[in-house]
Homo-oligomer: 237 residues x 2
């Protein structure tokens, strides 16, 4: 055995981190339930979008907003560690946007989203919305633990990332409702197996709905819009 | 103001998390320094590879190991949340590998790597190595805070992820020595600006060395091997 092992100190600190983390998660969960009521009182349903950086969340949003047009009243909460870049891209589509920069934290949490909801309402005359997209910080791991008060949680994995991602990040998929495989126009250029991605995701979460999308080419966008339609009908019906 | 705000509770728990996190980081840093001595006593230099999932860390390692052949004695520590998949891929290249699964944690830490070092030594007759690659958990944020005892920290961003990543994840770049832009063979298919990626990365960290690589096509691999050569010469010279 090596006598330079710091595991003991580490184990003690880790136990305390786990305890404090659990109390933080409990506080987050409490606020998340309040957010859900808050969102419903605004007349809306909310979608929490989770993926690695660069999986195409903002691009999908841009194309989705173009297709929605004035059909629904949409608001967007953008989560990023730094910069207003994503909010600037969405703002060009003419919808209310709130940029939340976490200043280092690798995920949004329910109190931050609560501020975001008020920020959206400040940009609306009647404070009411049909659909709120919450684009989480680009990270396939950390955001999965934090309920934001959403009604639907969507995980995106793009073709260039590889079809082994569901198997390697199972807990992220456990809490999701829908799995979007994005950038499917790139399938000819990558060793990505749609069968493997689907199979592993369904093994982890048999109820998961899976869609294949290439937003810039329009592939799968009709199914995605129909999915949103169904979500709004179920929640508001 | 909204009376359903849970910020107070949250603020208190957050303060405690910060305190405990700081003590955990201090314990990690202590172990990291021990790891660095441990690695040097093994005759080796260590490289900590950080990127999002699917940026090409394992693929780069596979091609790098093929090129190194028997020139240097290499060991690999593979960090993943779950599965032995990456270790299985590397094992086929005939080098000692230790797979560490973090069981949910989004990064390796120094105590885990310390176990990995012993695992590598158990697979070697004399316990000595020239070069140790530590492939961190796929995550562009969390691993940046944890020194593992490495001598060089490398950040990978692949072309499909987008050239805005340095600007959006600055703290990850602050602590790195080298920035690898990977999958450059895909530049014709993506709206990725090498100039933007370079400029933003150098704005954050002016001393950063930047290499462009497409491991499967061999593009940039000579420069990458020369870079490793220089690293070993400086450390062992």
């Amino acid at each position: 055995m090596c006598d330079s092992c710091g595991c003991h100190t580490h184990g003690h600190a880790e136990k305390r981190v786990v305890e404090v983390h659990q109390s933080l998660l409990a506080a987050n969960q409490e606020q998340a339930e309040k957010n859900r009521h808050h969102i419903e009182a605004m007349g809306a349903v909310a979608i929490n979008m989770i993926s690695s950086p660069g999986s195409g969340k903002t691009t999908l949003l841009e194309h989705t907003l173009e297709r929605i047009g004035s059909r629904w009243k949409v608001g967007v909460i953008e989560g990023d560690i730094e910069t207003e870049r994503d909010a600037d891209r969405i703002r060009k589509k003419g919808v209310p946007v709130v940029q939340i920069t976490t200043g280092g934290a690798c995920h949004l949490d329910a109190p931050l989203v609560h501020k975001g909801l008020h920020g959206l309402q400040d940009q609306s005359e009647d404070g009411r919305f049909d659909l709120i997209f919450i684009e989480n910080v680009g990270n396939l791991v950390c955001p999965a633990t934090f309920d934001l008060g959403e009604h639907e949680r969507i995980i995106l994995v793009s073709v260039p990332e590889g079809s082994d991602k569901p198997a390697k990040y199972p807990t992220t998929f456990t809490g999701a409702n829908t799995f979007l495989i994005t950038k499917t126009d790139l399938l000819p250029h990558f060793d990505f197996s749609l069968a493997e991605a689907r199979q592993e995701a369904l093994r982890i979460h048999p109820e998961l709905e899976i869609l294949e999308i290439a937003a810039p080419t329009g592939q799968g966008m009709d199914e995605w819009l129909a999915h949103l339609d169904g979500l709004l009908a179920r929640r508001q019906g």
